[in-house]
Amino acid sequence: MLNRLLSHDLPRSRVLAVLLVAIVLALALTPFLVPGVKALNVAAKVLVFIVLVASFDLLLGYTGIVSFAHTMFFGIGAYGVAIALTRMGPSWTALAVGIACALAMSFVLALAIGLFSLRVRAIFFSMITLAFAAAFQTLASQLSEFTGGEDGLTFKVPPQLQPSFELSSTPLFGVDLDGRLLAYYLLFVVAVVLVLAMLRIVNSPFGRVTQAIRENEFRAEAIGYRVVVYRTTSAILSALFATLAGAMLAIWLRYNGPDTSLSFEIMLDVLLIVVIGGMGTIYGAVIGSALFVVAQSYLQDLLRLASEATSGLPWLSALLSPDRWLLWLGLLFVLSVYYFPTGIVGKLRSIKPRPPQPRPPAGQVRQSAALK
């Protein structure tokens, strides 16, 4: 059952499996385990990032394409929800219309960019997407009557997801059953479904072909796969999942602006997470996002302490300031590209369990393997 859910792509490492179970449980029970608004916000952000990063992994890890326009699709999803809910009022219909329009727009854009530039070399594609993303960000902040410009849009979500909505007046385990909780669990369910769907895609025959293209484009073409078609399909799928992640973000924040969903910083974050977590694993997105967002939200306090402790050495103190945490992350990123090209997940998977000492006869080994 579980094996089928995970598309036969099991974690293949005990530590990784434990980590994944811990993260899923923690996310499922956050409202009941950790009281407070901040924790819930962090958990919701983790959910959004898991979907966003996993969708980027489809492209980078499984197809070997570096695109810098990923936040563009993320932003389209967020703006789709924001604009629809602003214009049509807070209803589920508006939400559905917004998401549908956003998906359609992402589909068209991804198809256009893909057909236009995936024929050329990887480098060209990266550069073109970078230019596109910059242009789109400008567009979003220029069309102010439509997108709210630099200020963005603040809107109301459907009534069942508003904080004022009460599911029942009696708290469960000391937690109010309000609309925020519902919204959180909506995000949780959507994230789980989307991640499983992506696992399904990368373990399908289609996913195998994209990996073949990643490994050796020339050979894949020679076998008879039409590389451009597969690459474009991969780019479109990845864009659609990113759009849904954007919609999740907008539903949770009840606000969207150019800096929240379109900024280049988010693109860099996604790139860092996918590489540190592990390219081409999907699980890397889960582990990486959880680590990254929690670190971003809580580790900066540690940095602040370190910075204050070293205030006698202004240089060190400046380096350790919480505003500079990207510096350390960037270093980690570079090191991980060199030393763990497969990221945390790949590293965990490559650690073999120690052979039992002393070596038993061969028959027993086979038996113990069968027992596993």
Partner: protein
């Protein structure tokens, strides 16, 4: 490249664009002002982009961290010009140039030194792997930007033009800013030096030969690896110089400027054809002109003008105007 088979078509693009826009602008003096401003801006963009196109054309390394060297050059210039405030405040042109010249030299030296380290620790392990190059140099860019924030602080720093370079000369009704003339001179110098070095000197010959067939040149007893490091360092130094020019042009610098300029440079390189010096010049001039014309005609569409331009060029020549035959 001999004179007979020289591809002249891209060269016509620049005057063609200028002439096409003329009827839309109406008054000829405005057109001259805009055109000169556009060409000068193009020259600055060329200086910024030249280092990247050099490194890519010769080493096949795409440095996404190129923007950091530009930002570095600009920040070094703020420090140097800040320290030479007496020179910049005086009204005489020569005294001002005496301040700008050291700023440029120091910026180039600092950028070159950082480029040396960057090549050694960031780029060297990933030669020949484009995917990793993109990731690694992007990481290098993040680190560089953060370090700039550590040294100079995260805020915007003003970089005012020296006294004598402010204001404009007037040709009839058309105004030409003095600083832009300087930019044109510096840009042409850089362009001439690059072309001359690559086509008329032994070093250039060796570099081009090394690109064609590295093993052969090495077997003749030349150290290609040293040459290539030199190319990367020169590319970084040019970025530092471009940073000074760009910073003075904007009159302020922010740590994020590297990432902002990156987009612009990439558009220029895509238009010009990756790795071609002449192509980069044409691309930069086109982008500069386009930015000024659209800024005057449809101010809101400034950034899109570049994208539209890029699309149009790519439809005509999918590899850029001067594609390298690789």
């Amino acid at each position: 490249m001999n004179k007979l088979d020289f591809d002249w078509k891209p060269l016509v693009l620049v005057p063609l664009l200028a002439l096409l826009v003329l009827p839309f602008i109406g008054s000829s003096s405005t057109w001259v002002t805009l055109t000169v401003a556009g060409l000068a801006m193009g020259m600055i963009i060329f200086i910024i982009a030249s280092g990247l196109t050099l490194v890519f054309g010769l080493m096949d390394v795409l440095n996404f961290g190129h923007g950091v060297f530009i930002a570095l050059g600009a920040f070094v210039a703020t420090s140097v010009l800040g320290a030479m405030a007496d020179y910049t405040a005086s009204g005489s042109l020569w005294t001002n140039l005496l301040a700008i010249l050291p700023a440029m030299v120091v910026a180039m030296l600092v950028a070159a030194a950082v480029g040396l380290a960057f090549e050694r620790f960031i780029v060297r392990p990933v030669y020949g792997n484009h995917l990793k190059q993109i990731l690694i140099t992007m990481g290098g860019m993040i680190i560089g930007e953060e370090l700039i924030k550590v040294i100079w602080g995260p805020l915007q720093i003003p970089l005012p033009l020296p006294e004598a370079l402010r204001g404009s000369y007037y040709l009839g009704d058309a105004a030409v800013q003095k600083y832009r003339l300087l930019a044109v001179v510096v840009g042409l110098l850089v362009f001439a030096m690059l072309l001359w070095t690559l086509t008329r000197t032994k070093i250039g010959l060796l570099i081009r030969a090394g690109v064609q067939d590295r093993e052969m040149v090495e077997s003749l007893g030349y150290r290609i690896s040293v040459l290539f490091v030199g190319v990367f360092v020169v590319g970084s130094a040019l970025a530092g110089l471009g940073g000074v020019m760009w910073g003075l042009y904007q009159q302020n610098v922010i740590p994020q400027m590297g990432a902002q300029v990156n987009v612009l440079i990439f558009i220029v390189l895509i238009i010009g054809g990756l790795g071609s010096t002449t192509g980069a010049l044409i691309g930069a001039l086109l982008v500069g002109l386009m930015a000024n014309y659209t800024g005057f005609l449809v101010p809101k569409a400034a950034l899109f003008s570049n994208i539209v331009l890029m699309m149009a060029i790519l439809l005509w020549r999918p590899q850029g105007v001067y594609a390298l035959s690789r």
